[in-house]
Symmetry: C3
Subunit: 353 residues, 3 copies
């Protein structure tokens, strides 16, 4: 990465447990080529993907007894980045490779790309929906060629739904409704409320899944919460009009949480973990699949716009872009990011200089 | 474009009317990413393809009532580069994007990539064949990865037909005949005359299409006319030998004009608009298709040579190339281009410095 | 090539006779784009692939009467790099293009990329197996995206067979046996001997091809010989255990020579000519094909590892790699290469400065 544009001492989602098998798993995160594998205790560990012997990627090798065996000459790498053995060689003097803090929780493997000594599991976000059996979750992963902050902008201003997602969740009333932006503790929150509107196709289907009429007016809400480094949870839903909207009784509404974890791969590419958590029919796996398919199609529409936007910004490096009211959520989120980067850099200077 | 290698205050062919629909149309010309669309009056306009809000390409959006609606957040861009409206926003202070002069004429859309104030329709070339019903025209478009001047060289010296187009229009007598190069007003003209030769396959077919014997000797001519910035019209034809050659009566000859508009996309790529205008059977659309297919196959042979030549010149940046007699047409054309660029640059300096 | 990392005044394998037809043949070697063709005497010659007229690659053209005819405008290039003729042109003043020394021998075409005056056929390696009818040979060519020295390392330490070629020639005893490295005249020699082991699948098949039992213990040997600039011949074989190993009578062993000529294309790509020479059933072409297929599959496994290693070394330019005992062969070979480069550079300085 040319210039550090994201915090390092924080947790990012690295992958989901289904992505790792009994083989090493390679992924680049925050500019670092990493190899992940499960050690003898079954715990996922992360190392630089570089064999200290001849520089081959360790991810080409195998996992044996919780050690990584290089696929070139059989060096055995421990889960701490120390070479444990190599046929016919003494390995005491071998240089270590860097190891990184990893936690598996909430159905994700989390990586702390910065200083391992500062990594603490309690700094993970709290995700109630991920551990409460009254909630169901389904999601997916997209690789997108854009700066991760363009995705934050995208998610903190849902005006784009009217244009990018016209056939599913978009509706004219979104961009006709004002957006409100505020700080709530360490969160940036943008919210929009629409009253007495017709539900667009995605929400009409959600009403039906809740056994609610889909041909009557609804009140609709979107409440986006950004937290460092790049997690956005969006409460979304519709309630039959006049039943209390966001606060309506469960009997009158369909609601869920759009889950977004955005992990930088490079300056201009991301791993985008998206999903939806719902507190109705949590065990209905067919419904989970239906929602995942629908959401996946909608979010693929963002993918194209964001990649084209990124290419265009690279083409016109001297052009300024606007920061309108609707962009305030993204602007505030970027400010939090910049402050976090500055704090890290200040902490890294000797004598606090 | 790294260094300006082409005039800006001049008309280039941008595209043909069949390329634009009711959606915005994106094309890069002279290094500029442009979006084209028809305004409320149906006139084609050209703008920078950059939304002033967040930098998305406007070409991803839609055209509504002659305005361009950004596909990301619905900003409405006028045909003059000024933002007309945006949901829930005041847009008075929005920066303009650059607009460019465009003319639709002769079956082409022409772009003036430089100073809009200097663009005048009367500076278009005069193309008699394009508006006279006694003429028929068919053509096509190739994207070629080469400096546009390599295509000018190619067309101003047809010696290459013997080698590149051996099976269609090439014949040994071409490179055995001397070429003459001269200025005629603002045109560079190279010409070649071959007497008492057999017609190669393409011209034998043209004789037959004119109901003329194709198994008797002919006189053949090629007269290439270059005009700024990069338009080349080539009068080509054959007449039964001894009937006056170029000046023979129509009853004894088959002739046409090869039409070439070369539009730089980048330093090393072009949009090449090629075609053939003929003054026989102008309404015979089957004949137009046959000629277009044949010409398209021939010109695809140039494509490969030019791309390979360009790659080789990039590989050997220090090597000089020769300027032989046969290259004089291209050399003169390049001189005109250089003079035009210098004049533009002089005019752009304050106080005529 | 950014920095010279290989000797120039030496013979490299350029291609095999089956690769060249009656058309010009293009290949980049040591950073030089070359065109090869047979002159009027049938001798292969090599020139820069650059037409002095307009810079088109001469390899796009044709060969006529031992001259290269440019496919663009018909310039006729002689086998010495001098333009011989061009239609309607005097060519005396045309600049020459560089010509290179070429020898066809041993079933290969060899190129001397440096000073032609220093090229002598007697500096070719002596390849007894290539000219003795008691030997059979089969081989192939791979293009691999890695520095040629990574392939030298690979071949001078066969420890990797245990890991990279586990299903064919690899076996645990390889990396359990010490390797010995020494100089023999101008050769670096690494050798490994394993006693009383079971033959892995490739060698079991070779025993059967020699009508020898494949289910009894064998003694196995690997003797790798590196010679400048990048030729590696590896004596490999197995003998029924206790019959004398490497020195056993032919009646008890299966043996052959793995042949490796490594020719740099660029700093990070090579032409890898691999093969196997055997002194049993030399005329059995079906056996030749079987061995070639098996060897080709095995060497394709190296290809993937080497390309990934190269990419990883480029990703981590500041990381050092280790030089272990098993790497001594590659380390010595690199020293010989560096000395040869320095000698060339010293010879090129005026007054021996």
């Amino acid at each position: 990465m040319s210039l550090q544009n994201h915090p390092m001492n924080t947790w990012y989602v690295a992958f989901t447990p289904d992505e790792i098998t009994d083989k090493p798993f390679a992924r680049q995160i925050c500019g670092i080529r990493l190899v992940f594998f499960r050690n003898e205790q079954g715990k996922v560990v992360a190392l630089e993907d570089f064999c200290p012997h001849r520089g081959a990627p360790l991810s080409l090798g195998t996992v044996e007894n919780g050690q990584l065996v290089c696929g070139y000459h059989g060096l055995r790498m421990g889960d701490d980045g120390e070479t444990k053995s190599m046929p016919n060689q003494r390995v005491q003097g071998f240089p270590c490779i860097k190891s990184y803090a990893v936690v598996e929780r909430y159905g994700f493997i989390w990586l702390w790309p910065g200083d391992k000594a500062l990594a603490k599991e309690e700094l993970l976000p709290v995700l109630e929906w991920a551990e409460n059996p009254n909630w169901g979750y389904g999601g997916g992963l997209y690789h997108i060629n854009c700066d991760y902050r363009l995705m934050i902008d995208n998610l903190m201003d849902l005006t784009h739904e009217t244009y990018v997602h016209a056939s599913s969740i978009g509706q004219k009333e979104i961009d006709e409704s004002p957006v409100s932006t505020k700080m709530e503790g360490q969160s940036v929150v943008t919210s929009r409320f629409m009253e007495n509107v017709m539900a667009p196709p995605f929400w009409a289907a959600a009403l039906r899944a809740n056994e609610l009429a889909d041909d009557v007016p609804v009140d609709r809400w979107q409440i986006c919460r950004f937290n460092l480094p790049s997690h956005i949870m969006i409460e979304v839903g519709v309630a039959h009009a006049g039943k209390g909207g966001y606060n309506a009784d469960k009997a009158h509404k369909a609601s869920s949480i759009v889950v977004d974890f955005i992990t930088p791969e490079s300056d201009t590419s991301i791993w985008y973990f998206w999903g939806m958590a719902r507190d109705f029919k949590p065990q209905d796996t067919a419904l989970t699949d239906t929602i995942r398919t629908g959401q996946g199609e909608i979010f693929a529409e963002d993918l194209e716009v964001l990649e084209q936007q990124q290419q265009n910004l690279l083409r016109y490096p001297d052009k300024k872009i606007l920061k309108l009211d609707i962009d305030a959520g993204g602007v505030q989120a970027r400010r939090m990011i910049e402050r976090a980067i500055k704090q890290e850099q200040a902490a890294n200077r000797p004598n606090g200089e």
